[in-house]
Amino acid sequence: MVVTRGDAPMPVDIAALSAAQIRAGIIAGRFSAHDVADAAYAVIATRDTDIHAFLELTPSLAYAAAERVDAAKEAGEELPSLAGVPVAFKDNMNQVGTKTTCGSKMLANYDSLFTATAVERMVDAGALPLGKLNMDEFAFGSSTETSFFGPTHNPWDLERVPGGSSGGSAAAVAGGLATITLGSDTGGSIRQPASFCGIVGYKPTYGLVSRYGIVAFGSSLDQVGPFGKTVEDVALATNALVGRDERDCTSQDCGTDFTANLHAGVRGMRIGVVTSMNDAPGVQPEVVAALHEAVENLKGLGAEVVEVDLPHITAAMSAYYVIGPCEAFSNLSRFDSVRYGYREPGCELLSSQESLSRAVGFGEEAKRRILLGSYLLSSGPYEEYYVPAQKVRTLITRDFVRAFGSVDVIISPTSPRAAFKFGEISDPATMYLSDLFTIAINIAGNGGMSLPVGLGRDTGLPVSVQLIGPQFRDENIFQAAAALETCYRIEHVAPMARPGAVSRVVEPVMTIGSPTPPATMKGGE
């Protein structure tokens, strides 16, 4: 990251500043929150035509928030933790004054009637809400290709997907369009796009963050979390997000300061490695190499590395593709063509209006998942798949509890491979393998973070590791991630967003090379 210095007024480079640096810059009078909003919308105007991270811009909300920050600064008040930080939200998060489309024709004209708690808490912390971000339709996907409004492009290589389903959230940060974004994660939808876009993405333990106002997909799996360029930015956002909300009965009290352990190091920490998981079929050699290097780096920092076994994790994938679609089937039954959502005109009967509206309003992947849930919840398949999947959840949860008896954090790859090209994966069952390593964590409810560890030796694209913590001990994740992060010299935004980059000129990623050297690794190969 480029650290900006000096007292003279200067143009604000969103891509080069961390959240804490933006707040500090406003406090020092180097720029105003209004200047930050100006800078953010200026880069969005030039770069987002190529990336397509945003579905909607909300300048009136962002400038109103900036005015509050600047007035507080003028009045000599202490500024809140995310004062002036440009943020944006996945478009399944309701915010009054915006549409909430879920990337679907079904909700293309839906105006938010209330504001999600997570959105409210970011704005209460002084952040500037720039707009709403693209996603796979109803969060069904791993590439953002299923959005009704067209795909988002990976800022590292516009020919490639940003991952998904929170692809817009990841691409906005990697493209230098926003400092922190929020996504939701049901089976990997924060961590996998963070990995594809080379940034930090964190799914908190189930229950840490309120889901009130987020359009539900899998209610026993969904969790909201932040994306950022650094572990510190993500910790600051997490501090703002967590805690009990009476409008989500699964949300829990939380008194943890997630920035507290960022400089504690990992000496004496026990890091678990799951050999069976890391050598799973389909995992690319560059991903395995980067993982081994990360493990060596942790050892070099003084951590103790311990092999752990998660014997039932191989069944996580199939358990997820039972539980997820069943819960989605139930949650998406609310789209009845009457109260909100797409309504097929000219129907004489309510029943035909409902089934035609759902046929036209939902895209192909949404229909597949709903029908899968419809089948799995019918008598017969319910006993054959649904109940066994919930029993597998018991076994997977026990595996994690046992493993965390001997380690503080578990490390694995985030995704079996780096970002793929548009259209490269068309078979649904193969696409689902993108979430191989992330799904088990949603099933067990633990927290997990994707941390970039440099560029893959074969593809030159960002590769990440996943750090997993015991339930409600997410501070362990932040401690290990912040320490590991110091081993790498990584540009936290894509080449197109770096100082000196010529906007709108897209080079093939393999030839970008310098001026930014690949991440340097300590130890390892």
Binding site: L113, S351, S355, F362, L372
Partner: protein, 98 residues
């Protein structure tokens, strides 16, 4: 046993999704491919294992006092509906042939 096309029509009907005749065969192929991939679930020994329906193990019903509080304005709440009459949702006929 793989899903037949008539099975697909039945589950689509239950899910209130009107599939066209052209869509049914491909949907049957896709669903059968996904269902095949669920097979590991059936091959694990689950004897004596209790199901977990929710990741926070010790969380049971969460209750609060019943309180009167402001809620959404009626017209605002109706503003996303496709058809409204006299402050209520308007729907087509619920009975009849079509």
């Amino acid at each position: 046993m793989p899903l037949s096309e008539s099975d697909v029509r039945a589950i689509a009907d239950y899910a209130r999704i009107a599939l066209t005749d052209e869509q049914v065969p491909q949907m049957a192929v896709d669903l059968n491919s996904i269902i095949d991939s669920l097979d590991p679930i059936r091959r694990i020994d689950l004897e004596g294992v209790e199901p977990t329906f929710h990741p926070i193990g010790d969380l049971s019903n969460v209750l609060r006092e019943d309180m009167i509080a402001p809620s959404l304005d009626r017209d605002f709440a109706l503003s996303d509906a496709g058809a409204v009459e006299d402050g209520q949702f308007l729907v087509p006929s619920i009975m009849g042939d079509e």
